[in-house]
Point group: C2
DNA sequence: TATTTATATGTCAATATTGACATGTTAACA
DNA sequence: TGTTAACATGTCAATATTGACATATAAATA
């Protein structure tokens, strides 16, 4: 999946690995994240496959920044993937629910402490999303042309709306669950 | 994580790989799933680590069923894990959102078709959960003692409630998103 | 000016997961 | 009785992901 995220971003404009990582942290991190180690290695792999080209910045760039550009083959791969239809449901994996499932074994107060801590984290995440909404649409930088950016906005907004819905649902569920355990 | 799910189930009672797989399909599949290939190999690994013991059924069992039992060390490992507190948020990974994020490139009708198909799948899942609620509490079989089963119920119910909440949120989001795209 | 923080790129071993291939038994049913 | 579906266990290669280790520059700040 990371492959297509990188192709998708590089289809907007050429970028370095660091820029791609930052962009993911600002936009896809609520439905897909990756460590820089995976990003750099995947970029190399995609270049080896001919889906990307890379150039080193001017010789006096001491940080060895390598700018990646999508190739024709890369664009074809991206659009071929987007032309398919996802027919399966993706399985959720939630560590906290595994722990809760077996929590009859646990000290009630320890479970409550854990759930309340998670509540804080999810509240922070929700707040973060609310702050994000405003400026997240400059994702491609100020100099990006409106023609490129404008059509993306409704789709970017929709994924962010998912993040907000998810956190709200999670908070509601945590509140219900905390109350249920308190009354046990 | 699979490790702790297997230890958790085997802490209820000894079981075979197949039984563990079936049990996961009936109970944890909405927050953690695994293929049988991973389950069988992980069971072997846990036995090698001394966290499980296994015995072959009576010699005339031609299916080579191997029944796993949790050891004292296994129980210690399980409770030690449950005694920790999860301090991080688990990152969501949702293929559909990756696709939607880059869907300005796509044919609008193709996107709508995909979202409507996903809507069907999530509706089926929700219906499945509603049917499950009734009998899912017999997870450990009819002969399981009430003392073992009763304390688990509120926790099992809570994870199922998460599944229902998730699907309801997802359906709402899909409806909103479908409408937004239709009006584009 | 010295220190800290942010920027920036990389490798690598270990682990986790997927999905295909392989095989045989038991139960149901036509 | 023959066929099909469900039951049951396993291997293995490929891929994906994690998380630690390693290193260096540039910018901000004390």
């Amino acid at each position: 999946m990371l492959k297509f995220i990188l192709l998708g971003f590089l289809n907007y404009k050429p970028m370095t690995g660091y820029e791609l990582k930052s962009m993911m942290d600002d936009s896809t991190m609520h439905f897909w994240h990756a460590y820089h180690s995976q990003i750099y290695t995947t970029l190399r792999k995609l270049e080896a496959e001919g889906l990307l080209d890379s150039v080193q910045e001017d010789g006096d760039d001491k940080l060895n920044r390598r700018t990646y550009t999508i190739t024709g083959a890369g664009r074809d791969e991206l659009t071929a993937w987007l032309d398919t239809t996802l027919t399966a449901q993706v399985a959720v994996k939630e560590d906290l629910l595994v722990r809760l499932f077996f929590s009859a074994l646990r000290d009630k107060d320890a479970v409550l402490t854990e759930l309340r801590l998670q509540r804080q984290l999810h509240e922070q995440k929700l707040e973060y999303y609310h702050n994000l909404s405003a400026d997240s649409m400059n994702l491609l930088g100020d100099e990006a042309e409106l023609e490129l950016v404008a059509p993306q906005i409704p789709f970017w907004t929709a994924t962010l709306r998912f993040g907000v819905g998810y956190e709200q649902m999670y908070l509601q569920w945590l509140d219900d669950t905390i109350q249920m355990i308190e009354e046990l």
